[in-house]
């Protein structure tokens, strides 16, 4: 019953669209604009988050040494990303399919340490009595 009602609603909306926008240009214009706007807003959000994140790591005062070390590590990770892609490419010369891409991504994740979960390693046992 619900499915029938939904399909009737779809048919009614489709009929209205066929009347208002028979060639689909208006729909296309609106939809493409919305997709662009959404991803445009999203990229600005991430740019801001990225900017805030890297700014936090910039060398200042007494923490400069520590920050410089972080920067070095970031540079190393960037280089290692290329290494990962290079290994994947080299492997793809021997094998085809998804294996090289998967290895490349796995290596990249390994180098950027995102594959390791952070566990507290604290086991709490509550006595019942």
């Amino acid at each position: 019953m619900t499915t029938t009602l939904v399909l009737l609603d779809v048919a009614a909306k489709a009929a209205r669209m066929a009347q208002q926008d028979p060639y689909g240009w208006i729909m296309t214009l609106v939809a493409v604009s919305v997709v662009f706007l959404t991803l445009f807003l999203l990229q600005y959000c991430y740019r801001f988050i990225g900017w805030a994140s890297t700014r936090e790591e910039a060398p200042t005062g007494v923490h400069s040494q520590k920050a410089a070390r972080r920067k070095d590590a970031a540079g190393k990770a960037g280089a290692e990303t290329e290494v990962a892609a290079a290994i994947a490419t080299a492997l793809s010369l021997e094998a085809s399919g998804e294996v090289p891409a998967v290895i490349g991504l796995a290596l990249d994740r390994y180098f950027s340490e995102s594959v390791h979960d952070k566990e507290s390693y604290i086991i709490t046992i509550k006595r019942k009595y």
Partner: protein, 380 residues
Amino acid sequence: METIIENLSQFWQYTGFANATWQHLVMILIGLTFITLGIVKEWEPLLLVPIGFGMIVGNIPLVAGLQVSIYEQNSVLNILYQGVRLGWYPPLIFLGIGAMTDFSALISQPKLMLIGAAAQIGIFGAYVLALAFGFAPNEAGAIGIIGGADGPTAIFLSSRLAPELMGAIAVSAYSYMALVPVIQKPIMLLMTTKKERLIRMPAPRAVSQREKIIFPIVGFILTAFVVPSGLPLLGMLFFGNLLKESGVTRRLAETARGPLIDVVTTLIGLTVGASTQADVFLSAKSVMIFGLGLLSFIIATTCGVGFVKIWNLFRPEGSKLNPLIGNAGVSAVPDSARVSETVGREADPKNHLLMHAMAPNVAGVIGSAVAAGILLSFLG
């Protein structure tokens, strides 16, 4: 003796041999082709093998009333098919995709997200063409989503907008996803010069764990506020990614990207394949859907590569983008990114585009889910 012959004759009437038509045999042949391509060529085997076998299952000639066909109420296949018909399976697959996708490439280069948006023009290009070919707007919307190169999204949207076309749309979407290297490479070569193919891009910066955790939360809130109708897909995609990146829900993330997505992929492949019964599937409409699907892939690739070329006109020398990553704006992850890498390496063996192409590639997943939400809000 007469009774035995009568019984045997009655039994014969129930067999597939007595009820077979040439349409059944054609569909079984198509199913066998899918299985062969999956096993021999290894083209999307996780999808083509279940879909191909499902096609054979769905086209075994049957007498009505046996309660075994996928379209017969309460048969086992019919119950499993509800996940496709009512759209439960695609969001669960998106949960798994979110839990297995590393968005680092995108977070480190957010500007490349716009390439993912440009490639979605393929969806709406196919929508306009489908209307011109006489399809109703809801059918045209369901057909257009093939250009997103995203099987679960295609199933989700077509189950809502045009359930009667879902089999053809799903098979078309998955077939072209398997053929991404064959379709995209010539277009990329045609649209780029040798000089453009040699452009090198700097290595993406390292991304902190905090950024990775913030990504799914911000991404979900923003996209769901703009397109609430895409909630099932976007919610599950970003939720899966949060499980992965939070670092404290390892078991949940592993289940989502492992056993859960495997089970759902098996069921979705088998039931979509079984839904392509000869009497529904073998029609002029299906042939047109396959043609429009191919055109939508071509438009999506052209728009992705063309967008990067136009963008480069406004970028200073030294920070230009390699247009070969433009094809990766469709959401066939990681196949289209791999095509960028392969074609880029053919021009310069030391130029690796894989990590750069992954950014528009995963943006394409978000973009196609947003596009599906828009189509649903207009037509659903």
